[in-house]
Every structure is written in C-alpha cells, then in structure tokens.
Amino acid sequence: MNPSGPNALSSQETSPASATGHAVIAVEDVHKTYDLGETKVHALRGVTLSIRRGEFVAIMGASGSGKSTFMNIIGCLDKPSSGRYLLEDTDVAQLDKKQLAGIRNRKIGFVFQGFNLLARTSALENTELPTLYARIDRAERHQRAVDALNMVGLSERMDHFPSQLSGGQQQRVAIARALVNRPSILLADEPTGNLDSRTSVEVMEIFQNLNNKGLTIILVTHEHDIAQFAKRNIIFRDGKVRRDELITTQSIASEVLKTMPTVEE
C-alpha cells in the first residue's frame, strides 16, 4: 500500500499497482449527448478509463470540457447516452431509479462547491440526512452522524446552523454528511472553490487523511495547486480525456499548512 511519508513521493512508488488492483469505476467508450431542441450538445465523446480502489484522482478541464458531465455520470445522477459504466462491477445501465438512489445513498458520497447544506438545520441534522434515507434506526443514525462530525473535527459545533459556521466549517459538515453512510467513493466537485487558500488546504488535508485510510476520492478542480494534492491527474478537453498521468510530486497538505500564514481571527 502507499507508504504515507512526510515527503514527496517519487514516481516509482506511485505505480498503479500500489493502489488495490481492482477497478472500482470502469467506463468504456462513454458518450453523452444533450438534446436542446434544435441543437445537440456532445458533452462526452467517448471516454474510457478506470479508477481503482484507493486512488485519489483530480479531474481538470476548461468549462465545457465534459468534466462535470463525467462526474454526474460517475455519481449516478445521470446516465450515459451510450457506452458502459461499471461501478464495482455492476453495469449501471441495468439499474432502475430506486437502485441508483440507493447507490447515491450508500456507495457514493458527494461534496459540492456551494456546500449545499439545508438552512436552519443543525450541523448534526444535516450530517444525519443520508441516514434517514438508508432506513437505519434512530440511535444508529445519531451515532453515525456524531462519528462523522468527529472525523472532520467539528464535534463542538454539532448544534450550529450553517449560518453560524464559516465556509470551511460548512464544507466540513458537507464532507461529514458525505461520509456518514460509509461510502466507498467520495466525489467532490470544486470543493475548495468557495474557500480561502488556507481553508482550502485544510480541506485537502481531510481528503488526504481519508484517502490514506483507503477511501477512493475523485475531485474536480480548475486549480493546479489543488490538483497537486491528488495522486493522479486526468485532464478533459472537448468531451474526451486528453491527459491521464500520475502526479509525480504530490503536495502533502499537512506540510503545506505549516508554511502558510494563519488567518487572523
């Protein structure tokens, strides 16, 4: 497995084989076309790639490159127009809406740029939300939510409303919510987009800790600095994968934080 050393990792040590061999996500020649009345938008024009368990992938690309569409398909929010998507060896096209909802509930966790928390609802209740749809009993739901908030370091703010939390804290709640049903994959769409530089790195630190424990993380970003915290970089352009390479020198968030000035209170 990956030795989590304090220093940058060399290319020899980050070969694909070091992540657990099996593909969690496998897409084969996936196309996605949107029909907007008179025009058709080819958002994805044949994407083939696979992501193995334990990987930390950063997806980059300009607007309209298809990266968001790709994320939506991976996240089972949308279906490909053609091609195959195998999630943990299950062909997603065979699944009905209810089963897809189940996948979104238990297998995949989402983190959004705008946090997307429910207003006037406490951090604990926000975190608990996915468990309500998982039909777990009350005591278990509560415990899971508490554990998730502890994992992101927000145990003292469980009863706060989003309006009483900073951007970074809100995003942490969102991450806790994404983790509460113990998914195998975390999808993050521009998670640092609304955060200042230091908070962004703090969030990346959380991601790296989670990845070190074995969680597969796929991240969309347009910032190179943020992408450097991942281990693999996939670049989309015009609906196709343009580059897919391992990151040679992964930035380590905990190290970077030491070099950053603290935000004055």
């Binding site: 929010l77 209810k98 979104r104 509930n105 997307n116 939300l129 749809y133 049903n181």
Partner: protein
C-alpha cells in the same frame, strides 16, 4: 424514510415559516368550521322536528288527496278532487282501527277586525280536529257539530291572529269579517309556535266549520286532507291498510293503477319531513363545502410555491439518496399535515360557533360525532388530493438541474 421521520421533517418544514403555514390553513379552518356549523343547524332542526312530531301522538294518520312521491309535503296536495266527506264518514264507520277522523281543506284569506286586517290561513274542518291534534284552547271552545251541519259563521283563531287583531281584548264573542262575511269568534287556541315540520307558524291560522268554508268561501266540495287517529299506536299500521283499501274501493281504483290519495302514518310523516330536512341540510353543507374546495386550492398553491423555492433542497436530497417516493411522501405529508391541522382547528371553531348560535339565536344545534369524523376524513382527503400534484412535481425534478437552481 419511515413515517415518524417523514412527519417530523414535514412539521419542521412547516414550522420554518409559521405565518405562511397558518394562513394556508385558514381556508380549511373556515371551510370545516362552516360545514360543522351548517350540519349542526340542519341536524338540530331535524331532531327538534322529529321530537315535535313524536309529541303529536304516535297514532296519528294523515290522508292527503293526490299522490306524492318523496320529499316535500306540499307537492301534490289538493291535486285531485276525489276525496270527499262521505269517504270520511265511511272511514270512521268501516275501518275498525280508526278512532276518529276530521276532514279538512284550506285556503288563505284576509280577516278584518275594526281597523286592522291580517292575511292568514283559513282551514275548514270538524270539531274532532282539535282532539286529534290535542290542541287546547286558551279561551272559549271549539265550534260544534251543529255548527258544521248548519254551516254557521263561527271561527276559532290561533294565537298569532289574536295578537295581530285583538291585542289585549278577549276575542271570544267578537265579530270579524273573513272574505266579506261576518264570523263570530268562539275560541282562541293556545300558542304552539313554529313547526319545523310544516315550516310555518302554526298559530297563524283560523279554523271554521268545513261546510262553511266549502259553501261560503271556496265553493269546492272536495277535501284536501283527512286527519285521523288510530285506536292505538299498534293499530296505526292496520288503520293505514284499512283506509287505503277503502279509498281504493270507493274511488274505483283498479289493481296496478296509482292511488289518487296518500295515507301516511306518523312514522312515514316523520320520514317525509326528515327527507326534506336532509335535503336542506345537504344543501347547506354543500355550500359550506365549497369553501373546503377553496381551502384545498390554497394548499396546492402554497405547496407549488414551496416546491419551487426548495428546488435546491430537493436536488440535495435526491443527490444524497432520496428516492422519488421519498420526496413525494415528504411533500404529500406536509400538505396533509396542513389540511388535518386546519380541519382540527375548523372542527373546534365550528363547535364554538354552533354553541354561540344556539345560545344567542335559539336555534337547536346538534353536532354529531359522525359529522366530526366525516370532516376529519374530508380534511385528510383534501390534503392528499390537493397535495398530490405539487408532490409529484417535486419528486420528478432532475437532480442535476435542481442542484443548479438559483
């Protein structure tokens, strides 16, 4: 999501905007309150009427000329001319279950005393009428059989006529003019009050010998009705059958031909009156029920607005694993909670209103448990029906579009 969590989420969502929730409920509150009060008035009137009819004596029978089908008592009265006095004599003689009979007909006329006049109902009958109806006199007495034989110009007046023409004077012995003929007042009946059964003032009446009315005022020889008493309550059914057989024979009505008369014993009488009353109650209730419709539309309207406002929230829920039915149940539950709460409040207000009406105006009010249960059920149905469309809209949102909604 299980039911309890759904309920809590719904209540939480409604509590988030208390003012709006209360205003939305208002339609249901007013609607249900009005329905409860209207039904209460209608059923109260029906119950009082039933009591009054029961008080009339349970062995009373009523024969009317012309046949009537259902509902109103006034339909078909006096439509045929075949019921005559000889029929009545035969009834008393040949129908063994019959104790007494009083033939009758009526018209309206202006009665004058001194400088005052008063338009009222004038009935022509025989002295048995007062016994059969157990109607006592406050002064004077009934006219006699001789008066009937001689078609004397005598009259008995009701309390309302007395009040309007005689004020404090004793009417007995005085002369009034009916039509253009002089009549001597021989008796004044005790006040009986409004009859919900007949929906008329029973005291607004003048009663004179049948023959006098027929010969000197209307010129008609046929009867409108015959009022009878059976020998006992248990004999009243037998009496009815005997009378029917007799009249069919006398009027030469063959098998299969419809009767040109109707015989009703008290139970049927009460039934017919009750049917009228039910129709009235239903009408009142339906009009009130229209406001329930408005209440439902209000709920649907606000739910639609709510769904649009919470598009983002719905997107989030769908993204983290809510199924379409989870979302649908959530919004449907909110609608039903509003309508049920509104209904409960409406029932409370309806009860209060009924109480206030009955104590101030004096109308009898009867709110049955059925009315309350029915209103609660209808409230729930309104919530489900009018909440369905908004809930569907919410459930069918595309998660990606919903998440992008500003």
């Amino acid at each position: 999501m299980d039911l309890l969590s759904t309920m809590r989420t719904a209540l939480r969502a409604l509590a988030r905007n208390k003012m709006r929730s209360i205003l939305t409920m208002l339609g249901m509150v007013i609607g249900v309150g009005a329905v409860i009060a209207m039904l209460g008035i209608g059923q109260g009137a029906d119950q009082t009427m039933q009591k009054q009819i029961a008080n009339l004596g349970s062995n009373m029978l009523f024969v009317t000329s012309g046949s009537m089908n259902l509902g109103g008592l006034r339909l078909g009265w006096g439509a045929t001319k075949t019921l005559v006095r000889d029929d009545v004599t035969a009834m008393v003689k040949e129908c063994h279950a019959v104790a007494a009979a009083a033939p009758g007909t009526q018209t309206t006329a202006q009665v004058v005393y001194g400088n005052d006049n008063w338009g009222t109902r004038v009935t022509g009958t025989t002295p048995e009428y007062f016994e059969i109806r157990t109607w006592p006199f406050q002064s004077g007495a009934s006219f006699t059989e001789d008066d009937v034989t001689t078609a004397a110009n005598v009259a008995v007046i009701g309390d309302t006529v007395r009040k309007n023409l005689f004020a404090a004077t004793d009417p007995v012995g005085k002369t009034v003019r009916i039509g253009n003929l002089p009549f001597m007042v021989v008796g004044v009946l005790e006040a009986k009050g409004q009859s919900p059964a007949m929906s008329e003032d029973q005291d607004d009446t003048i009663i004179m010998p049948l023959t006098t009315l027929q010969k000197k005022i209307t010129g008609q020889t046929w009867l409108r009705w015959v009022m009878l008493s059976a020998k006992s309550q248990s004999a009243s059914y037998a009496a009815k059958q005997q009378i029917e057989a007799l009249l069919r024979d006398r009027h030469r009505i063959r098998e299969g031909q419809p009767d040109d008369f109707s015989v009703r014993n008290l139970a049927e009488f009460a039934q017919a009156a009750s049917e009228t009353s039910s129709v009235m109650t239903l009408l009142l209730g339906s009009i009130a029920g229209i406001s329930l419709l408005v209440g439902g539309v209000m709920i649907m309207n606000i739910m639609l607005v709510s769904v649009t406002e919470r598009t983002r929230e719905i997107g989030i829920r769908l993204a983290i694993g809510a199924t379409e039915s989870d979302v649908q149940h959530q919004f449907l539950t909110e609608a039903v909670v509003i309508s049920l709460l509104g209904g409960a409040l409406g029932i409370l207000i309806g009860l209060v209103a009924s109480f206030v009406i009955s104590t101030t105006v004096g109308w009898p009010i009867l709110v049955s448990p059925m009315a309350i249960a029915g209103s609660a059920a209808v409230s729930m149905a309104v919530g489900i029906f009018f909440g369905y469309y908004p809930a569907q809209k919410a459930a069918q949102l595309d998660p990606i579009d919903a998440l992008r909604y500003e």
